[in-house]
């Protein structure tokens, strides 16, 4: 039996086996942001170490940056201090930094791919659990903590045990109004929020390979919500064409050499897996979360589950979810009122997301009881959207158009829910307090569903929504 991509890439990057039994794995690309890195740089300094391969680390700012007013110094002195720390750290250690002063700032998992820094066959690490996003290119990408950031800075390596690999085979055509977001929410609902512990997920099948690179990024992004630290898609012709001509991708003859390497690391048809899960995509409908973890998701035409219908181990969290959300068992999810609509995050703030949501809202108005805003994932996404006239469509509909950042996905910046507000969100986590209010509530869904909810003031089925193509 042949090796799958995960094991090929792992073996290529394995430095040695450590006495603990873990492997020492070389990290080909290290991405850094302002929140989880300052303590790591400080530890390096205190130990008299340096950054071993500064050219293999790239940095940006995303979590704390305000999206409304990005003038320096920031109004929040704590945010300003973090900003100054990453400026100092990257300058001192010779690391390329895409700060607010550049054209390339944005959410770390959006800029890596769009600049062509993220490439197939790499090992990638970043102090952020959504690093799995980069797996869409056939890289193996790990979210890490700050002590491991220190390790990667000082040694370009991690000490880590090899996980098992589960192939998630998704087949069949998606119905109109059903997106990558719905596929991953369904996978998490089926396998559970801890179903992926100890596994890397390989997303395969015709449905996955028919998705754009951006759709694949949405899927890989939420691997961690299913407990899997790593998720990836084998590189194919779309991967190659996406990367061709990007700033940091190889060019000329080197590109052809790279493509040869990229093709060589893909899982072949006879590749071996520790487990396989099959999903029929033809039966999927738009998904919406009703609870307090991303596994508590149902199709938009369904009702919230009866506690008695859940597995015993899920009941306690479900009870907590109903209490927090103020929902009842058996409530239809359709028709739930919303106060806020958030289009953004490393899950769904790429250009295709903003185009699709704009298609839904064009010529319509945000419901009078809804505060709606759209936060492009990067300055490059914003620039492309401007070239296509999207900000005007959003503004006319009553959405606020913001600067790039993580925004209300995790609310480490001025964008926060207030009190008991309930938010239709294109982000990745509906944990209690996640969007900045300890009592606030989050309904996760696709960008198109967020757009439809913004206009309707409640959860609606985007498939029943009048759609008109945007002229671009």
């Amino acid at each position: 039996m042949a090796k799958n991509l995960f094991n090929k890439v792992w073996d290529l990057h394995k430095v040695t086996t450590l006495e603990s039994g873990q492997d020492q794995l070389f990290i080909g690309l290290h991405m850094v942001h302002e929140v989880t890195s300052p303590q790591a740089f400080q530890m390096i300094r205190e130990r008299g170490l340096t950054v071993l391969y500064p050219g293999r680390t790239f940095a940006t700012v995303d979590h704390i940056v305000p999206t409304a007013d990005q003038q320096r110094p920031f109004t929040d002195p704590l945010a300003e201090e973090m900003m100054q720390a990453i400026e100092k750290n990257t300058a001192e250690f010779g690391i390329e930094f895409f700060g607010l002063h550049t054209d390339y700032q944005g959410i770390v998992h959006i800029i890596g791919p769009e600049l062509g820094i993220t490439q197939p066959g790499m090992t990638i690490a970043c102090g952020d659990s959504h690093t799995s996003t980069h797996g869409a290119f056939g890289a193996i990408a790990f979210g890490i903590g700050t002590s491991q950031i220190r390790d990667v800075l000082a040694t370009q390596c991690m000490a880590i045990s090899r996980p098992k690999v589960r192939k998630i085979n998704v087949t069949g055509a998606l119905a109109e109004g059903v997106y990558a977001k719905d596929i991953i929410l369904k996978i998490i609902a089926d396998l559970g929020v801890n179903g992926g512990i100890g596994y890397a997920y390989e997303y395969n099948g015709d449905t996955i390979h028919n998705l754009s690179m951006e759709g694949r990024m949405t899927i890989c992004n939420m691997s961690i919500e299913g407990g899997a630290r790593v998720g990836y898609v084998n590189p194919d012709e779309k991967t190659v064409e996406y990367l061709r001509g990007r700033q940091y991708a190889p060019s000329g003859e080197a590109f052809d050499e790279a493509v040869e390497f990229w093709n060589s690391i893909a899982s072949g048809p006879d590749a071996e897996y520790d487990d396989v899960f099959e999903l029929d995509a033809t039966r999927l409908e738009p998904m919406v979360t009703w609870g307090i973890n991303p596994g508590q998701a149902i199709g938009v035409s369904a009702a919230t589950p009866a506690l008695s219908a859940l597995k015993p181990e899920h009941r306690e969290v479900a009870e907590k979810a109903y209490a927090h959300m103020d929902f009842q068992e058996g409530d239809p999810i359709k028709g739930k009122k919303i106060n806020v609509a958030f289009l953004g995050s490393c899950t769904n703030a790429r250009i295709s997301d903003l185009r699709e949501a704009a298609r839904i809202i064009k010529g319509k108005k945000v419901h009078s009881s809804v505060k709606a805003f759209v936060v492009p994932g990067s300055k490059q996404v914003a620039k492309q959207a401007e070239a296509e006239g999207l900000p005007a469509i959003y503004s006319e509909a009553g959405f606020q158009w913001r600067g790039a950042g993580c925004s209300m996905c995790l609310a480490m910046n001025p964008d926060k829910l207030q009190g008991r507000e309930i938010c239709a969100s294109s982000s990745n986590r509906n944990f209690i307090g996640r969007q900045g209010s300890p009592t606030g509530r989050t309904l996760l869904m696709s960008p198109a569903m967020v757009a439809a909810a913004a206009v309707s003031g409640e959860v609606v089925d985007v498939r029943e929504f009048t759609r008109e193509p945007v002229t671009v």
Binding site: L12, H13, L18, E19, S20, G21, Q22, Q24, F26, G28, V35, T36, P38, E46, R47, L49, L52, R56, D76, L78, E81, M82, G116, Q119, G121, D128, S129, T131, G143, I144, G145, T146, S147, Q148, T155, Q156, A159, I160, N194, I197, I224, R229, R246, A249, P250, S251, E253, A254, E257, A258, N293, E313, E316, K320, L410, A411, M412, R429, I432, G436
Partner: protein, 208 residues
Amino acid sequence: MAATNNTAVKTLTGTAIPVRGNDIDTDQIIPARYMKVVTFEGLGQYAFRDVRFAEDGSPKPHPFNEEKYHGASILLVNRNFGCGSSREHAPQALNKAGINAVVGESFAEIFAGNCTAMGIPAIVLSSEDTLQIMDAVEADPTIEITIDLPTTTLTAGSHRYSFTLPPAYLNSLIAGTWDSTSVLLDNLNQIHETAGRLPYVNGFAKGA
């Protein structure tokens, strides 16, 4: 060899504090707004902040607010503890609040890795054993608990339990190599050799 935090972690003794519930995520362990800091010092006060205190600052019922658990160094939890964000701020906040070991039914992968990288064992017991220890500690918070890594046994009062820990974590804690920077750097030549055989490091001309 570079300076490290490493000391062997073999036996830990203390009292325990149970925090019941499955799927407790790192946003609950430390809300993101308290991560706007450039050091980990002072994070202890924010451990479980939003489940311990209402927005007006008044305390809510939570084990971390109960006098009887003050001084506890062993945290007892249930399934999939520490899921969600990779923030090391979560185990750092627990550690600064006095926690030196976490005992539960299962842990999210990144959380367990972060704990180990700080020298904090995240040990796994069966559901039945975990609940039994939680019940015992709630009945008598003064029960002394001993976690012995070399024999993978936990003693709570007169009861003994057998626990598991991924072998690599167990080995690195016992050997005192859980702070892996110096261990990794010992293989400097092999690091450069590995880099040298990677086509994208050694070949592929950079783009414009």
